[in-house]
C-alpha cells in the first residue's frame, strides 16, 4: 500500500527497480495493457522529439520536453475512467493522449493555434500554462461531482515548482476540508526552469505537504510506471468510494531543457542528467517486458515504427488544418460578442482579409 494516512515517509514506493526487476507486488495488468503502456510511453517520447524538431524548423512554437517523465504521465492517466476529469500543465501531454485527446489536436496547438475541436468529452481541460492554477480547478470539479452525487473523480497534476504557489496549497486545503474526490499529483522532476527542487521547499518530500492539510499522501518512484499506475489507481478508487482526496508525489526527472526556449546546460550538472538517464522509465519497462517474454525484439522495432507513423499522420493532419482566421481571436471571448468587440473586429478586417484557407461555410475557429 503506497498511500499513507499520515506520513508518506522518505522511501518512494516502487514495483520495478531501475533494472526492470520486480521488487513489489505486480498489479493486475494484462500483457496487452502492459504493452499499451510501453507503446504510449514511446509515443510520448517520439512526439516530444518531433515537436522539438518542428520548433527548430519553424513549424512549431515553444514546447516543453516530455522526455524522462513518460512513466509518470502515462501511468497517472491510465487508471482514469472516461467520466473522470483531468487538469494538467504543459508537462503532462502524454496524460492527455492516454485520456483520448487526438495527437493532431495537440500538434495543431503547438503550431500556435487554438484547436477548434478540443474534445470536451475526454474531460481534459486544455493544458495549463500558468503554474499551479489548474489544481483548484481539479478540486472544484471534484467538489461539483460530490455535490451532484456523481461517481466521478478529478485529477489535478502540476510540477514541483507549483507546490510553492498559493493556489496549490489553497486547493489542497479545500480538497481536505471538503473531502473532495480528487487526486492531486506532483510530478517532481527536480527543476522549475533553472531553480532546483531544494529551493522550492525545505521539506524532505513534497508528499509530506499532505500531513499539514489532513490529506493522505504517497511518495512514489515516478519512473516506475507500475508503481505510478498502482498508486493512482488506489487513490482514484479511494476518491470514488467517498474516502476523499490523495496527494501523490512522483519522483522523476526532466531530462531535457525546460522548453525549446531554454538551455539547461547553463545551470545543470551533466553528471546529474546522466545519473537519471540510467533510471530511464521506458528502458525499465522494456527490460521487464523482455525478461518476461512479453516483448520480442521484432515487436519492439514494430512499435518504434508504428509510433513514428502515427506521429507522421498526426502532423500531416495538423498541418493540413487551416490556420486560424486573422480575426479569430474575437471568437470565444464571450458567448455573444458585445457591440464594442463587433466594431473592433470590423476595424481589424479593414486591414486584413479573412484567410483564403478559411472554409466558406462561415464556420470559424
Amino acid at each position: 500500500m503506497a498511500i499513507h494516512q499520515i506520513d508518506p515517509g522518505l522511501v518512494p514506493f516502487q514495483i520495478l527497480d531501475p533494472d526492470g526487476n520486480l521488487v513489489g507486488e505486480m498489479p493486475a495488468l494484462s500483457p496487452e495493457r502492459l504493452l499499451y503502456f510501453y507503446r504510449t510511453m514511446r509515443l510520448a517520447r517520439a512526439f516530444s522529439d518531433r515537436i522539438i524538431a518542428m520548433q527548430r524548423q519553424g513549424r512549431a512554437t515553444t514546447f516543453g520536453s516530455l522526455t524522462g517523465q513518460e512513466a509518470a504521465t502515462v501511468g497517472l492517466a491510465a487508471p482514469l475512467q472516461p467520466q473522470d476529469w483531468l487538469a494538467t500543465s504543459y508537462r503532462e501531454i502524454a496524460s492527455l493522449i492516454v485520456k483520448g485527446v487526438p495527437l493532431s489536436t495537440l500538434v495543431y496547438s503547438f503550431r500556435g493555434y487554438t484547436p477548434p475541436n478540443w474534445p470536451a468529452e475526454t474531460r481534459c481541460l486544455p493544458y495549463q500554462i500558468v503554474i499551479g492554477t489548474q489544481i483548484p480547478h481539479a478540486v472544484g470539479l471534484a467538489m461539483a461531482a460530490k455535490i451532484a452525487g456523481d461517481p466521478v473523480v478529478a485529477v489535478g497534476v502540476c510540477g514541483d515548482g507549483a507546490t510553492s504557489e498559493g493556489d496549490f496549497n489553497e486547493a489542497l486545503n479545500f480538497a481536505g476540508v471538503f473531502r473532495a474526490p480528487v487526486v492531486i499529483i506532483v510530478q517532481n522532476n527536480g527543476w522549475a526552469i533553472s531553480v532546483p527542487r531544494h529551493r522550492q521547499s525545505a521539506a524532505p518530500t513534497l508528499a509530506a505537504r499532505g500531513i499539514g492539510f489532513g490529506v493522505p499522501s504517497a511518495l512514489v518512484d515516478g519512473n516506475d510506471i507500475l508503481a505510478v499506475y498502482e498508486t493512482v489507481r488506489q487513490a482514484v478508487e479511494r476518491a470514488r468510494a467517498g474516502d476523499g482526496p490523495t496527494l501523490i508525489e512522483l519522483l522523476t526527472y526532466r531530462i531535457g531543457s525546460h522548453t525549446t526556449a531554454d538551455d539547461a546546460s547553463r545551470y545543470r550538472d551533466p553528471a546529474e542528467v546522466e545519473a537519471w538517464r540510467a533510471k530511464d522509465p521506458i528502458a525499465r519497462l522494456q527490460k521487464f517486458l523482455r525478461r518476461r517474454d512479453l516483448l520480442s525484439e521484432e515487436q519492439d522495432e514494430e512499435i518504434g515504427a508504428s509510433v513514428l507513423a502515427e506521429i507522421d499522420a498526426a502532423v500531416r493532419e495538423a498541418e493540413a488544418m487551416p490556420p486560424m482566421a486573422p480575426d479569430s481571436f474575437f471568437d470565444y471571448v464571450s458567448a455573444t460578442l458585445p457591440p464594442r468587440l463587433q466594431a473592433q473586429r470590423a476595424e481589424l478586417l479593414r486591414f486584413v482579409s479573412p484567410s483564403p484557407a478559411q472554409p466558406q461555410s462561415g464556420e470559424r475557429h
Partner: protein
C-alpha cells in the same frame, strides 16, 4: 406581481433564494455565508433553507474560492461565489482574470464558466483598510468578464438574476452604503434586468451625468440642486453594467445634451470615467459644447475612515462640475 418594499440586502437575498429554488445546479460558497448569513446578511437563512450541500462556508482563501468555482462551473453547476469585500479581490485576481474570464477563449468554446462573483464595495461606512475600495476600473482590461453594479434594490435583484443566467463569468459588485439605505417596491417573483443596458434615471436636456452604484443618488441630488440653483435640466444615466459599457446610451444622451459629467468612487486614472470620456471623444466629440468633466475618487489609496468623506464624490463636487460644463 406581488411587490413589497425591500432593501438591497433583502432584494439580493430574495434573488439568491429564487435561484436556489429554480435551479438545482446553483450553489453558493464563500466565507461566513452559511449559518452567519454573510457579514452583511445577504445570504441570511439560505443555508438553513437549502442545506449545507448547496450553501456552504469555505476556508479563508479567495483564490481557491474562485478556482474551485471555475471547476464547479465547468462541471455544470452554477456557482455564486462571495468575496467578502471587493478589496480582497486582489487575492484572487489570477483565477478571476487569467482563468475564469479566459476558459471559453482558451478552449475555443469547449468549456465555459458561468460563474457569478458577488462582492461588496464602496466607501463612506467607516470600514477598516481595503474594505471600501472600488475595483471596477481594474477589470476594464479583463476580456470575457462582465462587471455589474446596481444602484437600487429592484435593479439589484433583476441584474443578479441576469448575471446567474449569463453563460459567462460576471463580477457583481454591491455597494455597501446602498445595502440598507432605502427600501424600494420590489417584486417577490423572478424577473431579470438585462446586462449591458444603462438606464435613464432622470431625463434632461442640458447636461448628461453618467453614474452607477452609490453615485446615482449623489448625481440625482446634484441634479436637483442644479435645477434649483442654475435652472438647468440634468439627465442622469445609471450605467448599471460598467463593463462592457452601453455605448449607445452614452452617445445618444451626449448627442442630445452636448455636455457630460462622469461620477464614480473609484480612482480617476484609466477608469470607467476615462473610458466613457474616450467613447464620447471617439463617437460624438462634435456634439460636445464643453470638455467632459470627471468627478471621482482621487488617484490615492482609499483613505482611512477619519478622512474618507473628503475622498468621495459629493453632491457639492458634482454640482461644481455641472457649473463648469455649463459655463458658456
Amino acid at each position: 406581481m406581488a411587490v413589497r418594499p425591500m432593501t438591497m440586502i433583502e432584494a439580493l437575498n430574495n434573488a439568491l433564494a429564487l435561484e436556489l429554488e429554480r435551479d438545482e445546479r446553483v450553489v453558493l460558497l464563500g466565507q461566513d455565508i452559511g449559518l452567519n448569513g454573510g457579514v452583511f446578511r445577504v445570504t441570511d437563512q439560505l443555508q438553513r433553507r437549502f442545506g449545507e450541500r448547496r450553501v456552504f462556508d469555505t476556508p479563508l482563501a479567495e483564490s481557491a474560492i474562485i478556482g474551485t468555482s471555475i471547476g464547479m462551473a465547468v462541471y455544470g453547476l452554477r456557482p455564486i461565489a462571495e468575496i467578502q469585500f471587493a478589496g480582497f479581490l486582489f487575492l484572487c485576481m489570477s483565477q478571476l482574470v487569467t482563468q475564469a474570464a479566459r476558459i471559453r477563449f482558451r478552449s475555443a468554446g469547449a468549456f465555459s464558466c458561468p460563474l457569478v462573483v458577488r462582492s461588496p464595495y464602496g466607501g463612506g461606512v467607516r470600514t477598516p483598510e481595503l474594505h471600501s475600495d472600488s475595483l471596477e476600473g481594474v477589470f476594464l482590461q479583463t476580456p470575457g468578464l462582465k462587471v455589474v453594479i446596481p444602484s437600487n434594490p429592484y435593479d439589484a435583484k433583476g441584474l443578479l438574476a441576469a448575471a446567474v443566467a449569463d453563460p459567462d463569468p460576471v463580477l457583481f459588485l454591491e455597494n455597501i452604503k446602498l445595502y440598507r439605505s432605502f427600501r424600494q417596491e420590489t417584486p417577490e417573483e423572478y424577473y431579470t434586468v438585462p446586462l449591458g443596458k444603462a438606464k435613464t434615471v432622470q431625463a434632461g436636456e442640458d447636461v448628461s451625468v453618467f453614474a452607477y452604484g452609490a453615485m446615482v443618488p449623489v448625481a440625482l441630488e446634484a441634479a436637483r440642486q442644479a435645477q434649483q440653483e442654475l435652472g438647468i435640466s440634468v439627465e442622469v444615466i445609471d450605467l448599471r453594467t460598467v463593463w462592457p459599457l452601453d455605448e449607445e446610451a452614452i452617445v445618444a444622451s451626449v448627442e442630445k445634451t452636448g455636455r457630460a459629467v462622469v461620477v464614480h468612487e473609484a480612482p480617476r486614472a484609466g477608469g470607467i470615467g476615462a473610458e466613457v470620456t474616450a467613447i464620447i471623444n471617439e463617437r460624438c466629440l462634435y456634439s460636445l459644447l464643453k470638455p467632459v468633466a470627471r468627478v471621482t475618487g482621487y488617484d490615492t489609496p482609499y483613505p482611512v475612515p477619519g478622512v474618507e468623506d473628503y475622498y468621495l464624490p459629493t453632491p457639492a463636487k458634482v454640482l461644481a462640475a455641472l457649473r463648469q460644463v455649463m459655463e458658456p
